[in-house]
């Protein structure tokens, strides 16, 4: 009887150890999988995901903050030299009037903005569904200039907007 009890105890101990090892291995594996996945996710972040992120950011914000975020997003594209993305945001008729081609827009941007900008929001007005933002853009770095410009933003829905600006 004693031998049987001893065997039983040692079996339980062994089973516990095996279980613990398996659980630890699983946790370890999960952590590795999660880390790898996050890295991969970072790499394959799509525009939709970015849009969703911005949506989540602007959802609780008031209109003033939202407009500032939209404008900041547009200017960020310019800073990162993502001219095509910035060009896509512009209002179609405005593009027709002032920048009929992406190239013309690029030339304007390169002439007037630098890759590093400081933006001061001077004024914001709403006229119906149009938002008129007056901003002072300080070009840091090589250009070292300052321009005051008006941006007009029209918001269709959250993070769905179009804009134009004083093409001076």
């Amino acid at each position: 009887m004693k031998k049987k009890e001893k065997n039983l105890k040692s079996n339980i101990k062994r089973a516990l150890v095996i279980c613990s090892v398996i659980i630890l291995c699983l946790i370890f594996l999960l952590i590795i999988l999660h880390l790898t996945k996050t890295e991969q996710q970072e790499e394959i972040r799509t525009t939709e995901q970015r849009d969703e992120e911005i949506k989540n950011i602007v959802r609780p914000k008031g209109e003033k903050e939202r407009m500032q975020i939209y404008l900041a997003e547009y200017l960020k594209h310019i800073e990162k030299q993502e001219y095509e993305q910035a060009y896509q945001i512009l209002y179609a008729e405005f593009k027709q009037n002032f920048f009929p081609s992406l190239q013309s827009f690029c030339s304007y941007v390169q002439k007037n903005y630098s890759d590093l900008m400081k933006v001061d929001y001077t004024d914001i007005q709403r006229q119906g569904e149009y938002y008129i933002l007056t901003v002072t853009i300080t070009n840091l770095g090589e250009l070292d200039t300052q321009i005051t410009q008006k941006f007009i933003i029209y918001e269709n829905a959250l993070n769905d907007y179009t804009l134009s600006f004083q093409a001076i």
């Binding site: 339980i12 516990l16 914000k61 939202r66 119906g128 007009i152 004083q166």
Partner: protein
């Protein structure tokens, strides 16, 4: 192996013993998860905005019925579209007959307005201004398509402002422009030895009342009622309070030559949505003059030689 067998038995016993509790727990948990998923999917991506075109600026307790909101927006949209396209006839037809008669008696006058305001394509914004006795007044601002121009040509936003008035009539909406609400035929008169004044008509606008008066001069002298030489020459009594006649760039002196009749329009500020009544027109500086030149330098001399100087009130009720 015994350990697992023991564990299985324990779990089975637990489930047997607490079968209903487990079922309830699973159901509640599933319902909560489902609600959470549904709510997440139901999140409406409507941006928070302070733009409330259907909430009146002037609150007087009367709200804009929801059933008309889309119709009104559609009306204004269509009207502006026609004006932008210079489709004068269609835009003109959208305006109520009474308003057309009063504001643009013929198409040419309307054309002139459209050509002036819509010299370039315009966009618009609307705002419910006030609602009173089922008359809905909208402020409409027309301005250049700032999205298309980026305000490149103009640093400040210039706009034309108008008040569109929507009236419910037989289950339909009638649209009037230029703040026009309606006309009332009047039956008020003042008569004395020198003159007879008949109030012919009152045009009610969103923010003013315009009276058409006919003055008959019974004398051999010139009657002067207002020539903007002193304040409050003509005023209006609005439920015990006095309001001065509006003198703007279109204003004309009110005087009548001997033995003749003239028709004039005089107006005062009167907000339709306040529901106040104009009870009388007072003439504070009536001059029956032997001679009248209209020159301010000669005014004192002309007054010294006056046949009579007096004032009176013409009751409108």
């Amino acid at each position: 192996m015994l350990f697992f067998t023991d564990l299985r038995i324990k779990i089975r016993n637990f489930i047997k013993k607490h079968k209903w509790k487990v079922v309830v727990f699973i159901v509640v948990w599933s319902v909560l998860i489902s609600i959470n998923i549904i709510l997440q999917n139901l999140t409406i991506d409507t941006p928070i905005t302070t733009y409330t075109p259907y909430e009146p600026i002037i609150e007087n307790g009367e709200t804009m019925p929801k059933k008309w909101q889309d119709d009104i927006e559609e009306y204004i949209k269509q009207y502006v579209e026609y004006c932008n396209q210079k489709d004068y006839e269609k835009a003109y037809e959208m305006i109520s007959q009474n308003c057309r008669n009063k504001i643009y008696p013929n198409l040419n006058e309307f054309k002139a307005y459209v050509d002036y305001v819509f010299s370039s394509p315009k966009v618009y914004t609307i705002q419910n201004y006030s609602n009173y006795e089922r008359i809905y007044i909208y402020r409409v601002r027309l301005f250049e398509d700032i999205l298309a121009t980026g305000m490149t040509y103009s640093d400040s936003l210039l706009y034309f402002e108008d008040k569109f008035v929507f009236t419910e009539q037989n289950g339909k909406l009638l649209m009037a422009v230029k703040s026009y609400i309606g006309d009332e035929t009047m039956d008020a008169m003042y008569d004395d030895q020198y003159m007879r004044i008949t109030v012919k008509n009152k045009s009610v606008m969103a923010e003013e009342e315009i009276y058409t008066i006919e003055i008959q001069n019974k004398t051999e002298h010139t009657i002067v009622l207002a020539d903007d030489n002193t304040a409050y020459e003509i005023g209006f009594e609005v439920e015990g309070k006095n309001r001065e006649m509006i003198i703007d760039e279109n204003w004309q002196r009110i005087y009548v030559q001997p033995n003749s009749s003239n028709t004039f329009t005089i107006s005062c500020t009167q907000f339709y949505d306040e529901g106040l009544k104009t009870t009388g027109i007072y003439f504070n500086s009536v001059r029956i003059l032997r001679s009248y030149s209209g020159e301010s330098e000669l005014k004192e001399q002309e007054i010294e030689q006056a046949v009579s100087l007096y004032s009176f009130t013409l009751p409108l009720e």
